[in-house]
């Protein structure tokens, strides 16, 4: 995983994207989105509602494993987060494996709920904490979920958003430039005309991470919480 400072920038970016939403869910093994969602909730005075799967204290569901998916189909889930073994220039993600579908040479854990949530949740935010040419590729080997227009990708180096069919560089984090991002990315991309350096984590957000958000993170992601502080 990336340097703590880079993770803090990612948290800030994602928290800003979640402003004004009603309900945000965070899948298992997603500490950066979890931190960002909790920050957004604290700064939004309880809004959005945040559901963290795998947490026993921040998970409001009472109807079993299906409820998250039903909830999304009902239009009650405004944002979700996906990573992927591969993310491509169109914003498609691959969680399944490498090689030709049906004859893969390597298999990861599986598709989980991504094929479904990616098409039903209006704001699916892609993230990777290890921006590199092997993970950010021109075309995924397997489309777990296709990309859609307007989708965001937040990495430990930069922020992209899909426009006109492809991810476009929106900002680079402190210490990067468009060129360093390009060198670390496996797909060609355009740079938005107003691109610039990613704003850092706001002081108010940082205070939340040191305070109430940190307390929740220590329950769900103790190692990650320790790394941030």
């Amino acid at each position: 995983m990336a340097e703590p400072e880079r993770l803090l920038v990612m948290i800030g970016v994602i928290a800003r994207l979640l402003r004004g939403l009603r309900h945000v869910a965070v899948g298992a093994s997603s500490p950066v989105p979890a931190a960002a969602a909790l920050v957004a909730r604290e700064l939004g005075r309880g809004r959005p509602t945040v559901s963290i799967l795998g947490s026993e204290t921040s998970n409001p569901f009472t109807d079993g494993g299906r409820e998250l998916f039903d909830c999304a189909a009902q239009g009650r889930l405004d944002a979700f987060f996906l990573s992927g073994a591969q993310i491509d220039a169109t914003g498609a993600v691959n969680l399944l494996g490498l090689g030709e579908p049906g004859r893969m040479r390597r298999r990861f854990m599986g598709n989980f709920g991504a094929p479904y949530l990616a098409s039903l949740v209006p704001n699916v935010i892609l993230f990777r904490t290890d921006h590199g040419v092997r993970t950010l590729v021109e075309k995924v080997d397997f489309v777990t979920a296709p990309g859609v227009e307007g989708r965001w990708l937040v990495t430990d180096r930069a922020v992209f958003r899909r426009q006109a069919g492809r991810l476009r560089l929106v900002s680079w984090h402190a210490g990067e430039m468009a060129e360093t991002v390009r060198a670390a990315t496996g797909f060609a991309f355009e740079t938005a005309h107003d691109a610039g350096e990613t704003p850092g984590l706001e002081a108010a957000a940082a205070a939340q991470l040191r305070g109430p958000v940190g307390a929740v993170l220590r329950e769900v992601y103790p190692a990650f919480a320790a790394q941030l502080t």
């Binding site: 093994s29 026993e56 854990m109 709920g113 479904y116 990616a118």
Partner: protein, 265 residues
């Protein structure tokens, strides 16, 4: 009234389709151990909706012919090593799915219908891996629609905190077990303890209880979900799990590890 985990394992014939909970939802490792001991074979596992340690142990011991699941892993410890080896060798077939497709298939079985329509998913390459799924225009909207077939496991096996003497089993909010108990032909459960009061007599308990109507046998197995842990009762044994994740990468050390696990239990 209550049985032993070995008696539960004896009820599951080779070749059966067996629905198993993910590591967070109530895993009857006590019965998995007995399935390994008796040399079960040809099992077809269904993840609810994903598979974890239980599946990897059964695969490591050669008990499994195939899996249908949305994912299989050891969670934070990464890939399921015995599964990964079996997958590379082609010795276990994998029916790839996604969480809501498994829930929908079980719901179809619960309701006695052949299939359920499923929202989303169209556009994923997953659809191309499932010749048993049907694509076609939705008869009500005319939009592209996806239909997934019913999943009716022969058995559901899980572990929970408490049962009562009538065989009602309390699962609390782990309601995927309720759905699976409705969908499966036969349900077997181990529990930490059998309580004296009727779980259906008080709505506070009843609201989280699978009625005995759906439960064929209950066995008492204290710490029966170790080493993955049981919600609100005991956590995972992280040292054991890390040791397994390491040992299971290699067939020989995996066998040694499992032999020790069988000896200890």
């Amino acid at each position: 009234m209550t049985a032993t985990p070995a008696e539960l394992a004896a009820l599951i014939p080779d070749g059966a389709t067996l629905a198993l909970a993910p590591d967070y939802s109530g895993c009857s490792l006590a019965t998995i151990r007995e399935l390994v001991r008796k040399g079960a074979s040809g099992l077809r596992l269904v993840g609810l909706p994903q598979l974890g340690l239980q599946a990897d142990l059964l695969i490591a011991a050669g008990c499994v012919a195939g899996v249908e699941t949305a994912a299989i892993s050891l969670g934070e410890l990464g890939l399921a090593p015995a599964f990964d080896r079996a997958w590379r060798a082609g010795s276990v077939t994998v029916t790839e799915s996604t969480c809501p497709a498994i829930h929908a298939g079980l719901t179809a079985a619960e309701k006695g219908v052949s299939h359920l329509p499923l929202a989303g998913v169209i556009g994923s390459d997953l659809v191309g891996l499932r010749p048993d799924w049907r694509l076609g225009p939705d008869p009500f909207t005319g939009e592209p629609g996806l239909l997934v077939p019913a999943i009716r496991p022969d058995f559901l096996l899980f572990h929970a905190a408490v049962a009562d003497r009538s065989g009602n089993v309390w699962i609390g909010v782990r309601r995927e077990l309720m759905l699976a108990a409705h969908a499966a032909r036969r349900t077997l459960a181990t529990v930490e303890e059998v309580v004296a009061h009727d779980l259906l007599a008080d709505d506070l308990w009843a609201a989280g209880t699978i009625p005995a109507l759906y439960v064929e046998r209950v066995a008492t197995a204290p710490a029966g979900a170790a080493p993955v842990g049981l919600r609100n009762r005991y956590g995972p044994d992280r040292a054991w799990l890390a040791a397994y994740a390491e040992a299971a990468r290699d067939p020989a050390s995996c066998k040694t590890f499992i032999d020790a696990w069988l000896r200890d239990g």
